[in-house]
Amino acid sequence: MFENVIEGIFSAAFLAAILRVTTPILLPSLGALISDRTGVINIGLEGIMLVSAFTGVVFSAYARDWFGADTGTTIGPWLGLVMGVLLGVLMALLLAFFHLRLKADLILSGIALNFLGSAVTVAIMYELTGDRGNTQGSLDSMKMPFIQLPDFLADIPIVSFFFKIFDNQSVMTWIAFIAVGLVWYVMYRTPTGRHMLAVGENPEAAASVGIRVQRVRYLALAISGVLAGLGGVHMSMGYLAFYQRDMTAGRGFIALATPYLGGGNPIGTALASLIFGFFDAISTRIGSLEIPSQLPQMVPYLATVMALVIYALQSQLGSRVRTLRAAEGEQFDVHYWSAIRRLSVLHMFMAMTAVLGIIVAVSMFSAPQGFTKVIDDVTASGIMIAILSLVLIGINLPFILHVERIGQWQWWASAGAAIASLWVYVGLFMMLFLVAANGQQVGSSTLDLSDATIALIGMGAGLVAGILIWLQLGGQYLLRNGGHAAVTA
């Protein structure tokens, strides 16, 4: 059973699932990115998504009544899409009007928009169907079409793996990833996009060079409405064919965090969304294990908090390094500091992952009966996990609190901590992978490894990977210079 879960994780089907669940995070994330970079963060994404999802369902469901069975079935999904997005834009413009024109607080009106979206959809659903939970059975929407790739791709050896990932994905998934490119193009290659960035950076300065601040902000919010609307439509018409009360389940809020994690650019935001998609997909996979289903459900939210923390720490470090650079001038060693920054992210990531372990341990202490089916001695395992996590946090914490320690005379301690943490994670990961792969057909022979071999290979690979990753991220530089910044004469 455990093996099944692991196999499930490392398959093309799982990667396809990641793309699938990433879509409704990625689209609003791009919306959040644009509004955020323009200086008008759109808190109302969640409400906009709900309204769009519901509108899509209503219009696609009634399309058959309005246009007859044949035409209705063809244009139904697209009508739902267009109307859903339109309503999304209208909601965003409502927010824009209240904030920009009536000077309402942006955050509070965003919160109001979320309440509005959740309430209006449920109220109208109740009127149309008499049901307050979902429209399943009474108001079934049509699904957006799925894109089939040409079949011959499945026969080409390596391409076939990717074929399995990308074949039969919803058109919305393709739209989402195309939108990444579009948003990037608009933001960095068009005057409008440049105006947005300028307004976000400094509205007064932008106004002084003739940019119409209000208009740019209206536009940015409208675009975020379009993107959130697309995400909403995907929720109700991508893989499901009905609207469910509050079906976005906080994705609109997760979307607020992804641009931070992604460093404020579309590509990074897409990667951050994929990370959330990964956690989201993995939480449903782990659901087949007999542990409390609430535990994996917490993971994406926990990851969001951690992403916020890492982002916040990094931006603090960034401003510090900029100050230092200004102060040191010629003497400033760019390579040294970029090595330090990359390694500090590594330390933070290692410590944050260990927080997950703490949560698992706390869950095991608080609800031991939920784990008895999988683990024999819950308390002992809990204590072990807790100790391991605490150790991992403990060895990484000094280098998070004082980034200077990564370099200078303590550089070897930092290296030890980073490599040891990576060793543990990669080693455990490798061992799980090998347990899953054991007994599988590899080429013509069957893989048959003893437990000792698995442990040996796992830990060995972990150590090697740990060292390599550390070296790659900046360890090389520290090693060469004895942990110090190069002194230029």
């Binding site: 955020d36 970079r37 323009t38 200086g39 008008v40 963060i41 209240f98 904030h99 920009l100 024109r101 009536l102 000077k103 309402a104 607080d105 942006l106 955050i107 509070l108 009106s109 109001a112 309440f115 959740s118 309430a119 109220a123 109740y126 009127e127 307050r132 976000g200 509205p203 106004a207 119409r212 601040v213 209000q214 902000r217 906080g250 809020f253 607020l256 965090a257 409390p292 609430q294 535990l295 459900q297 917490m298 939210y301 926990l302 969001t304 908090v305 916020l308 923390v309 916040a312 720490l313 931006s315 603090q316 470090l317 510090r320 869950s363 608080s366 609800a367 009966q369 939920g370 980034v403």
Partner: protein, 580 residues
């Protein structure tokens, strides 16, 4: 309150005025729930407590007027506008109210003393009946009108009746008898009182009957049945009357009788405490929405104390449970507070995420630890009697928590206006940079503001668990904490006004619940009203907007007028921190 040196007498007048308003409200509420009868009041158990609570409601109204003055007018107007919009929405939902007159199952009977000629292919014959269903929305092609053919002989007296199949169907039918050439021979759209008496099948004047009609010739006749056309007047009238029923239940429902009133009060206690919690963080300009998670921890911890130490004396258990709930909330608020203050992590996102984590954690502990093994659904066992708060009105969930509420209101006011930490909270709320230059430890204050607010939210959770539900259930809060936002906003983040706004808002919530049960209008209408209230109350330029529309716009560059600290400042720049 600003004092006007010459206006001492005016101040007295104002004071008397507000006290009078409070007294009037107390009187009106008491009058309505007891139907104006002193005997009924005296028969109600614990009526003194009811009177006490009504007096407190009056006091909260007085406080509201005294503290907010002209702002109170604006708050009232905002709520009225939002209610009007809600009224329009309810009317829109009831636009189809008149449809019940054109919908429903009906039956047509054909009676005659003559003998029918034997003709093939007829729909109905003497002594037979046909039934149908007009305009059923679930049907693919709803039936709009029906026609049944029958064969008749000259001189037969036929009686045709059309009526709904059940008493509760209100379809308004009309009948016509048509001969082969298409000529209408007889028509009916209503029945007389005598016909109602004579035919047992008929049950209202809206039915139709053609009685003892003598057929002029042999041949095939057609009975045409259809619902009567709705007039515009009928449509509007029905919509308005149904909306009126709904809004009556909405606006007066909670005062119908003591039991309904108690739903209002118990909901208000939770909401007021939550509003105080939100007011504390909003005062510091921290948009923390973590009350939901903090409330869940309060529920969980107080529930565990009540369950595990149920045998200890009540005087011990209740304070311990309350204290531990507050502590749990404090800690769960401290976490995002510290993340915000020391790392600059966006508190809005982090608290929302922590809410979900807390809720899942609560569900996990409840499902796997607290649920008795033999329970069919996920809920803990009932708290031992001692672990719960004692009701002060018999048969209701209004408990000693009312005194807890008063204590929390006073305490929050004390913290906010009479302690250094409260001063610092208000200072960073007013201008964080100024506070920083002025020597306020802004980081510590932000963290403590969020933590104290968490403690208050934890108390709300304790009331929910020990006062209202008396056991732990799934979805115990249902997003209650977010409703606290509107309470705090309406109260302008003033702890002395929060009792009034909490009562007001929970009145609307309770009313909406009765509107749903009495008039079948969705409860969500009140949440729509809530979002409209938030939008209107935060729209600072609303008044100037309407005023300025009339003034010609000047040709200056329109610079963004939003407060400069709002755009993109999810992370206020914390410069020069020592933690890098």
């Amino acid at each position: 309150m600003r004092l006007n040196p010459q206006g001492f007498s005016r101040k007295i007048v104002f004071l008397v005025f507000s006290v009078l308003i409070g007294a009037a409200v107390t009187y009106a509420i008491t009058y309505r729930i007891f139907d104006g009868s002193v005997d009924l009041m005296k028969d109600t158990p614990d009526y003194q407590s009811v009177l006490l609570i009504n007096t407190l409601i009056g006091a909260s109204v007085t406080l509201f007027v005294i503290e907010l003055r002209w702002d109170a007018l604006r708050v009232t107007l905002t709520v009225i506008v939002a209610l009007l919009i809600g009224y329009l929405m309810t009317a829109a939902f009831n636009l189809d109210a008149a449809n019940r007159f054109i919908q429903g199952e009906f039956r047509v009977t054909l009676e005659s003393d003559g003998t029918a000629p034997d003709v093939e292919g007829m729909d109905v014959e003497y002594g037979a009946a046909r039934a149908g269903d007009f305009n059923n929305p679930d049907h693919k092609e709803p039936l709009k009108k029906a026609a049944y053919r029958f064969a008749g002989t000259e001189g037969d007296a036929v009686t045709i009746l059309a009526f709904p199949t059940r008493q509760n169907i209100e379809v308004d039918l009309q009948l016509a008898l048509v001969d082969e050439s298409g000529k209408t021979l007889a028509k009916s759209d209503s029945v007389s009182a005598e016909q109602l008496e004579a035919h047992r099948d008929l049950n209202s004047q809206k039915d139709a009957a053609i009685e003892a009609f003598v057929l002029p010739a042999d041949g095939v006749y057609t009975i045409q049945v259809q619902p009567e056309e709705l007039t515009l007047n009928q449509k509007i009238g029905e919509t308005l009357s149904k909306t009126k029923v709904a809004y009556n239940a909405f606006l007066l429902g909670p005062l119908d009788r003591v039991l309904r009133w108690s739903f209002w009060i118990q909901d208000a206690i939770t909401l007021i405490i939550l509003g105080l919690s939100i007011a504390l963080v909003f005062r510091a300009e921290q948009f923390s929405l973590g009350a939901e998670g903090q409330l869940y921890f309060g529920v969980l911890v107080s529930g565990i104390v009540a369950l595990k130490f149920g045998d200890a004396p009540k005087e011990l258990v209740v304070p311990v449970a309350l204290l531990s709930a507050a502590t749990a909330g404090f800690l769960w608020g401290l976490l995002p507070g510290a993340l915000k203050a020391y790392l600059g992590a966006n508190e809005l996102v982090s608290t929302l995420m922590l809410n979900t984590i807390a809720t899942r954690f609560y569900e996990m502990v409840l499902t796997f630890e607290l649920k008795p093994d033999d329970a069919g659904y996920v809920a803990s066992s009932w708290f031992p009697n001692k672990g719960t708060l004692t009701p002060i009105v018999e048969g209701t969930q209004i408990t000693l928590a009312i005194y807890l509420l008063i204590a929390v209101v006073l305490l929050t006011w004390l913290i906010m206006f009479r302690t250094p930490i409260g001063y610092e909270i208000r200072m960073i709320g007013a201008n964080i940079k100024f506070a920083d230059y002025g020597g306020v430890n802004t980081k510590r204050t932000i963290m403590l503001a969020m933590a104290i607010s968490g403690a208050v939210a934890g108390l709300a959770g304790a009331h929910l668990a020990m006062g209202i539900h008396r056991r732990l259930i799934l979805n115990i809060s249902m997003g209650l904490a977010f409703e606290g936002v509107v309470v705090a906003l309406l109260a302008r983040n003033n702890p002395l006004v929060a009792p009034f706004t909490g009562l007001l808002y929970s009145y609307l919530r309770t009313g909406a619940r009765f509107m749903e049960s009495d008039a079948n209008v969705s409860f969500e209408v009140v949440r729509i009203i809530q979002s409209i209230i938030i939008l209107l109350i935060t729209a600072e330029a609303l008044v100037t907007f309407f005023r300025r529309r009339r003034i010609r716009r000047r040709g200056t560059v329109e610079l963004d007028g939003a407060p400069p600290d709002i755009p993109a400042q999810a992370h206020p720049p914390v410069e020069g921190t020592a933690h890098v």
